[in-house]
Each structure stands twice: as C-alpha cells, then as structure tokens.
Symmetry: C2
Subunit: 115 residues, 2 copies
DNA sequence: TCTATATATAAGTATTTGATTATATACTTA
DNA sequence: TAAGTATATAATCAAATACTTATATATAGA
C-alpha cells in the first residue's frame, strides 16, 4: 500500500537536507510552531549566517516558507509542499523539541508580550 | 502520537545515508528482495567498488545485513534494526523498483536456475 | 534622516563525500 | 594447486558541503 509516491530524485534530495542535524531539528521545531531566525539562534550553537543558510536550503526545497512580520522573519513548515506527508512521517520518529521551544519562550528574544 | 522515537543524531545520520540516490534505490530494492552485489551492479551506472562502498556504509549503520552464499554475498534489509520502522515509513513514499528487479531477473547475473 | 536591530548574501576555507583506479581477499572449479 | 570470478579495501582526487568572517539589505524608532 503506497502513500503519496514521489520521484526518487526529489525524495533523496529532501532526505539529504534532513540528513543534517541542525536542519532536522529546525524542521522538527517548526512542526510545533513557527519561529523567527533570532529564536532559532537561541537554541543552536552556531552563527547567524549559518542558520540563515540552512533556512535558505530548506526554503529552496519548498520545505519551509517565510513570512516577514515587521523586523522579524518567521519560518514555518510549508503545508503546500507535496512532500509534506513524507516529512511528517519522518518527524513522527523524531523526539519532540519541547526543550528548545521552552528555551525560546524563556529567553523570548523578540520581547513579545503575549499577556 | 509518536512512533518509535530515536535519538535525533542517529535519525539524521540515517537520513543522510538515504539522501543519496544510489543508496536510497538500493534500500528500496532490498525492500522487495535480497540482492547480491553483481545483481546491483546490473542496474546502476557505476563501478563495483562504488557499489561496495555504498553497501559498506549501509551495513555500518545497521540498515542492511550481508550473507555470503558461496561466491556471492547477498544483502538484505536488516529487520533487527531499531530504525526499521522509520526506514519502512520512508520507503512507502518511494516508487517501487520493479523495473530494476525485472532487469536483474532478465540478465540473471548469477545464472541461477530456479526451475 | 540617523542609528540600531534582524536577516541575507558573498567570499573564503576546511571537511566530507562519492567516484575512480589499483590491488587484495575469498570462494569455486578444473 | 592454479585460474577465474565475486567482492572488499586502499589510495587518490574532484566536487559538494557547512562553517566562518565580512558586508549588504531591510525595517523600526528617535
């Protein structure tokens, strides 16, 4: 019983993208909620350009989409992607990223006041 | 609802392995049936050492196992692997490799007589 | 319009990867 | 035991990758 079957070339490309720990973690976080770049920066031990470059690759592949909100650019999973089903299936095997999401909420880099 | 959840480092490692078109195709073929190296050689446009090296990586990661049968070494999916569920979920999105399996049966490189 | 902040892009570099060629090992059969 | 076949390993190299630093762009607010 096959699910949405896609060209093997595109699949291997997506798997290669998710084959990087940072990118897999980002995508897994975005499954829980959208994040802006400065929030992601809080939880990874790498430079801002490095995160930007990972996001660029994910965006180029159609895995995520970006939306500017004032000075921040928020990234989220692209629900329109025809590979979404594959990605979601993979993410079911990935531990949830609540610790990282929590860290973002504590440091609150965008100084949002949600009260 | 999470499935068998595994360390994100191990998952990204497996995804990186499957992020190569040749390896993803091999694994997808092995889902249908075990193959020996000379059979795989029939369907890929690359050298014997190249295939051997891909198989080595898959074996090192525990994705496949090898079994010598006389002069041939047969590779199959390692059903004992704790990442098997993830791999099977991924393979459901990959087109089946009947064309390649058929080609093996036609060229029949091991000259097996199954009659 | 000036300054600060958020993010992207460019350029450079070290590491990793996947291929190739050459060689070694293991098995089969004469 | 010698020769042939199947497969693995070693060495080498070019291409791809992911990081860094430096710089550019876009927005916000004084």
């Amino acid at each position: 019983m096959q699910k949405t079957v896609v060209d093997i070339e595109r699949i291997s490309h997506v798997l290669k993208l998710l084959g990087d720990k940072t990118r897999l973690t980002i995508v897994s976080m975005l499954k829980q909620r959208e994040c802006c770049v400065c929030e992601l920066l809080e939880v990874f031990d790498t430079s801002q350009p490095s995160i930007s470059q990972h996001l660029r690759k994910l965006k180029d592949a159609g895995l995520v989409r970006e939306e500017r909100k004032g000075q921040w650019i928020y990234y989220s999973l692209n629900k329109q992607n025809d590979l979404l089903a594959l990605i979601e299936d993979i993410l079911e095997h990935v531990p949830n990223q609540m610790d990282k999401i929590k860290k973002i909420q504590e440091t609150n880099p965008t100084m949002r006041c949600d009260c």
